[in-house]
């Protein structure tokens, strides 16, 4: 319709409103990305963190290419070997290649952590936005629920979930789904509370008042105008949360409450390594280094993002 009304305007003089908005938004986005990249580059620790996180994702995606052996195939002729050209990180007591297990474990852990945090965001963000935006009695009720939710210690929740999953003797796939679900459910209340806080502060600003006067719908204002301005703390929180989830997953599998045995998992490999700690310490070194590397990456990146996105505390 807009095109029909501007048909008489000579070519090359494009004032089509939709197109203009489109282009300026892309330019805006491009500028934002360039700006973020520049800030990231300037912040040394953050760029190291970003690089580590990038490596993790790359290893996860390229796991089939990087792995030199089948991670679950046992080979008793080559058990408990030290690091060599054939087995970069050595082999465990079943003769499985630790390097391949570490690489596949990376894929497994990163996938679970990302999906769990994503689930927490998908559940927590609407909850927090609605609670903060509408306020009043709804907010009071929702926040009491969140309080009770947070009052239940996370570790107990994960242990209960592990008990549940073990009792049903689920297959690896459903076992993983259960783990993601438990982590996501436990992540939800803190995200809801975080978003609610930012929405509450943003709600009082003048541009929101203007939107009300123009007659925008409540849902539009809450999700399309307020929420985009509340994303920085959420992004920071989610990045650090990825590291925390990794630690939890590894701890559970270290206790033998994670995935069923042959699954490549850093925590499970560490647990196995304890038997041979004195004679073959390298068994305990590589999986542990892998976990530390991953969590450190997310922590550094999250800290860096905090400095970049929240300049008020950057000076600390």
């Amino acid at each position: 319709m807009a095109r029909a009304s501007v048909a008489s305007i000579p070519e090359g003089f494009d004032i089509e409103p939709a197109g203009l908005a489109q282009r300026s938004r892309t330019t805006q986005l491009w500028r934002a990305v360039k700006n973020a990249a520049w800030e990231l580059w300037r912040n040394r620790l953050a760029s190291v963190g970003a690089l580590m996180v990038f490596t993790l994702f790359l290893v996860s995606i390229l796991a089939p290419v990087l792995a030199t052996h089948d991670p679950v195939k046992q080979n008793y002729r080559e058990m408990l070997q030290g690091p060599s050209a054939a087995h970069y990180f050595g082999t465990d007591k079943f003769g499985r290649d630790i390097w391949s297990r570490t690489v596949w474990g990376c894929q497994r852990l990163v996938t679970i952590a990302v999906l769990a945090v994503l689930m927490g965001i998908l559940a927590g963000v609407p909850l927090g936005t609605i609670s903060g935006y509408y306020g009043g009695r709804l907010d009071a009720v929702l926040m009491r629920v969140v309080d009770a939710w947070l009052a239940f210690p996370g570790i107990l929740f994960y242990l209960l979930a592990a008990t549940f999953i073990r009792a049903y003797e689920l297959s690896l796939f459903w076992n993983t789904v259960g783990l993601i679900f438990a982590l996501g459910v436990a992540r939800t209340p803190s995200i809801a509370r975080l978003v609610r806080g930012s929405v509450l502060a943003e709600r009082e600003k003048e541009y929101i008042e203007a939107s009300h006067i123009v007659g925008e719908s409540n849902l539009y204002i809450a999700f399309r105008q307020i929420l985009p301005n509340c994303l920085s703390p959420l992004i920071i929180d989610a990045t650090v949360a990825l590291g925390v989830e990794l630690l939890i997953i590894a701890s559970l599998s270290f206790l033998g409450l994670g995935a069923p045995p042959p699954t490549p998992d850093w925590g499970a490999d560490l647990n196995l390594a304890r038997e041979h700690m004195v004679t073959r310490p390298y068994l305990a070194i590589f999986p542990g280094l892998a976990i530390s590397f991953a969590v450190l990456g997310f922590n550094l990146f999250g800290d860096g993002l905090r400095d970049i996105l929240d300049p008020r505390i950057a000076d600390r």
Binding site: R144, P153, L159, A162, T163, L255, M277, G288, L296, L300
Partner: protein, 317 residues
């Protein structure tokens, strides 16, 4: 303050009720038949025996009645039922294990504060120097290293390689103080170092907050030395959030010690819970989770109230 305390205590009731319902039903939905577990091979198929057992255990009653009875027994008599594996009273079993965990958790928090307060203060006072960066990078590394890996490496190095400390086991400090302390150092440090990572960062940022306050300028202009300013004024104020978080950390450790207790064979409540999960002793799991969650909620409330007492500025409802 009294009204606020009362209000918070009343608020605990629905929270604890929700926790108990959650724990009860989660365990209820687990597969497996109690009667199959209790009755012998031959008797399990005998309908008369089954009916008698059902009656005895109250399984013929509707679910909500059983929940109310279960909760009633706990609240009124402290009776958590019997463990499936040991056949002993769960209440007795669990409460016997609590002191070991509390002991470990307290020492861990103390160790973390001994590390964190000086390091955080130095980092803040010498901001943007090598000392500051070293402490901060150390803290991020401490946050990133998994506790159980750190514990394993400690055992490997101090116990197996150097032979200075015993690798695991527990001795009560009341029976043998020296042996008790020897066995305490590794698990408590493994927990404490990680906690210290958080507290160091917090102490530093709290100190930085205080250093920029006006009263600090006043104190300096009165001719106080920098040392006096830091120790007499800023550190005292900066310690309020630090100590608060240390209290919350203590609450988190009740239950958060599971991994460390499992590594060091430390007979606390975390190990009890872990053993119960592994041996599928569900009433035991139920009871220990309920007790730990209640303790966690109570400790958090206590910390919150203390914080308000120490910091009158936020004494609003």
């Amino acid at each position: 303050m009294f009204r606020y305390t009362l209000y918070r205590l009343l608020q605990l009731i629905p929270v604890l009720l929700m926790v108990s319902i959650f724990v009860y039903f989660m365990i209820y939905w687990l597969p497996g038949d109690v009667i199959d577990a209790l009755a012998g091979e031959a008797e399990a198929h005998d309908p008369v025996v089954r009916a008698a057992l059902e009656k005895e255990l109250g399984l013929d009653q509707p679910l909500y009645v059983r929940y109310v009875k279960w909760l009633g027994k706990i609240v009124l008599h402290g009776d958590f039922g019997k463990s499936i594996t040991t056949r002993r009273s769960i209440g007795v079993e669990v409460f016997q294990r609590i002191p070991a965990t509390v002991y470990l958790a307290v020492v861990a928090v103390v160790i973390s504060l001994i590390i964190a307060i000086p390091l955080g203060t130095i980092a803040a006072v010498k901001r943007r120097t090598l000392a500051d960066y070293t402490v901060m990078v150390g803290a991020v590394a401490g946050l990133s290293i998994p506790q159980f890996w750190f514990a394993i490496l400690c055992v490997l190095f101090f116990a197996l390689y150097l032979g200075w400390l015993p690798p695991s086991e527990y001795y009560s400090p009341f029976d043998n103080l020296w042996l008790g302390l020897q066995h305490l150092i590794l698990p408590a440090s493994a927990l404490g170092v990680r906690l210290a990572a958080t507290t160091t960062r917090l102490t530093r940022s709290a100190m930085l907050d205080e250093i920029n306050r006006e009263y600090v300028d006043t104190a300096r202009s009165l001719g106080l030395s920098e040392r006096q300013v830091v120790f007499k004024y800023t550190l005292r104020n900066a310690l309020i959030p630090t100590v608060t978080v240390a209290g919350l950390q203590f609450g988190n450790l009740l239950g958060g010690t599971v991994v460390i207790e499992a590594i060091f064979a430390w007979p606390g409540i975390g190990l009890t819970l872990y053993d119960a999960i592994v041996s599928r002793d569900y009433p035991m799991v139920q009871a220990s989770v309920l007790i730990l969650a209640t303790a966690f909620v109570l400790v958090n409330l206590l910390v919150d109230l203390t914080y308000r007492l120490l910091n009158p500025r936020i004494r609003l409802p």
